[in-house]
């Protein structure tokens, strides 16, 4: 019973080792992907901070890693310590009277949706940048690397500029 059977075509130890190598490679790839994502986020934040916006706005959004979301309740709700609950009580009490003159609800809903849209776009840009970065890092002979990528790089020659 000591002897090991070797089938004509298949060796389980080799298969298991091969599968383990695949998992290892996948883990390395995943680690690279998360590293690249972090780099992209940092780069986006640097670009955001360079914009000519008020400092407090830039800080506010940067603190939330560009994932800022507008909360419609913030319009009516006071978080001020001490007076906050009293203010909230009167705001609730007089809200119907305010709405006799103008209705801010549609505006609040639109801003709320817009903030989701902005968040989605930010995420999309981030994903595209990560994807591009990962493709660029693949070796030139990797079959997963798009050919257009290689051509785009090779076209970046001064002599090609201005010709069409």
């Amino acid at each position: 019973m000591e002897k090991r059977r070797s089938g004509p075509k298949v060796d389980v130890v080799q298969i298991v080792q091969q599968i383990r190598r695949q998992i290892e490679a996948q883990h390395t790839e995943q680690a690279t992907a998360s590293q690249v994502r972090q780099e992209v986020r940092d780069r986006l934040l640097i670009q955001w901070r360079q914009l000519p916006f008020p400092e407090d706005v830039k800080k506010d959004v940067a603190d939330q890693r560009l994932q800022w979301l507008f909360d419609p309740d913030a319009f009516w709700f006071s978080r001020r310590p001490g007076w906050g609950p009293i203010i909230n009580f009167f705001r609730r009490l007089f809200r119907p009277i305010v709405k006799l003159f103008f209705n801010p609800d549609p505006l609040l809903h639109h801003v709320h949706r817009l903030s989701y849209l902005v968040q989605f776009q930010t995420q999309l840009i981030e994903d595209l940048l990560v994807e591009r970065e990962l493709l660029q890092r693949k070796p030139p002979d990797d079959p997963g690397r798009p050919r257009r990528f290689s051509r785009a790089r090779s076209r970046r020659k001064p002599s090609d500029r201005g010709t069409s």
Binding site: R5, S6, V10, V12, I15, V16, I23
Partner: protein, 397 residues
């Protein structure tokens, strides 16, 4: 030769583990030898509560003597005591108390063994961890052959078992890994030992996968688990891993679980929990499955693995169990995983490569035909009896 087999439970309706092993062996040895079985009246392995009437009867062709369990096991007290012993310094007296709590506590069975010691050439004791084996083997040390069915269980390090593994005429190991484990722990190299295992009983009728599919309304491809649905057998862990696998694949197979349900598992649309089934249904299910999964972390042999190979099916096993891993490597008949990520990949690999899966099944079948047919098993037992006779007289410490 006159042989007696001592086992904690015995019956045609007990179809798991060491007890099935004991029954298969009793029926195999019954041809060339005279065999009688000594056991308890218990059917339930958790409490050992008396179920069968005491006295002598026949199960198949073999005469069986049943003795009552004097005190059923209280699983909570037993569990607490075992946990205490495994985590604290303790004396041998504490271990003897643990052994009584473990049971099956049947002193009349031990008395009968002592009384009839000379009626048999050899007494074969099944499963090292039970009261009946320990005290039975010590009652007839010069005629005792131990079939330990040991797993990588920490209680094997209890000092009383050192006495047991040194104090028998011979040991029939189930696998090389089991032999290494016991010899490594107890240094009983002088005790004659043979790696035997047990033959695989053929199905009652030729297996028919269609019958299983119709009976249980299983129309899709499925992978199979056979055994107790129990934490100790790794079933809940398998269900959890499979649920993650199914959620991450577009077209996963079904997971069918056959066997007594001890621990509940959460319902899942891709998992079918069918409960205990008869032998024929098991073989029908084996014949129709894509492959068999054995997630058990502790095994001394795994008869279901041999049955799957007999049915020419590949297997996927828990690689943390040295015995299962060793069997797969020796037979080239299955893959072994050690993490959920490996489980997922190996499921994919086996499902995507039907030709190689078939090859694994064929390798497994050839391995079973070579080592687990009645003839080699009988020959190895004869060899063990021969070697056991040549051992000098044993003194019980």
């Amino acid at each position: 030769m006159r042989l007696a087999i001592v086992v904690q439970r015995y019956g045609a309706d007990i179809v798991s583990g060491a007890e099935l092993h004991a029954r298969n062996l009793a029926e195999l040895l019954h041809g060339p030898h005279h065999v009688e079985v000594f056991t308890t009246c218990a059917q339930d392995y958790v409490t050992w509560r008396n179920h069968y009437p005491p006295g002598s009867t026949f199960v198949g062709p073999v005469r069986v003597h049943r003795f009552p369990v004097r005190r059923p096991r209280d699983p909570r007290t037993y569990g607490r005591w075992e946990q205490y012993l495994l985590t604290h310094p303790h004396s041998e007296a504490d271990e003897y108390r643990w052994l009584e709590l473990e049971g099956p506590y049947a002193p009349r069975l031990i008395e009968a063994i002592r009384r009839r010691a000379a009626d048999f050439d050899f007494w074969l004791f099944f499963s090292f961890r039970y009261y009946t084996t320990f005290h039975g083997a010590r009652a007839v040390p010069d005629r005792a052959i131990l079939v330990p069915t040991a797993e990588e269980d920490p209680i094997i390090g209890f000092s009383i078992f050192r006495r047991l593994f040194h104090g028998v005429r011979g040991i029939a190991y189930n696998s090389i890994e089991e032999q290494r484990l016991i010899q490594g722990m107890t240094r009983n190299y002088q005790v004659p030992g043979v790696v035997v295992g047990i033959h695989v009983q053929p199905p009652p009728e030729p297996p028919c996968p269609e019958r299983f599919r119709q009976q249980w309304n299983v129309s899709e491809p499925y992978v199979l688990f056979v055994g107790r649905v129990d934490v100790n057998k790794g079933a809940p862990q398998l269900v959890e891993m499979f649920a993650h696998y199914a959620a991450s694949r577009p077209n996963p197979p079904l997971l069918v679980l056959l066997g007594p349900i001890v621990d509940s598992v959460p319902p899942h649309p891709r998992i079918r929990l069918l409960g205990p089934v008869d032998e024929q249904t098991k073989w029908d299910a084996l014949a129709g499955c894509e492959f068999l999964i054995n997630p058990s972390p502790l095994e001394s042999l795994s008869m279901v693995l041999l049955e799957a190979w007999k049915a020419r099916k590949a297997v996927l096993v828990n690689g943390q169990c040295a015995v299962l891993r060793g069997q797969c490597i020796r037979s080239n008949g299955g893959l072994f995983y050690t993490s959920p990520a490996e489980f997922h990949r190996m499921m994919d690999w086996l499902l995507e490569h039907p030709d190689l899966r078939q090859q694994l099944g064929e390798n497994g079948r050839a391995y079973v035909d070579e080592h687990y047919r009645p003839d080699p098993i009988l020959r190895k037992y004869e060899e063990l009896f021969e070697r056991a006779r040549s051992v000098p007289e044993i003194r019980v410490a």
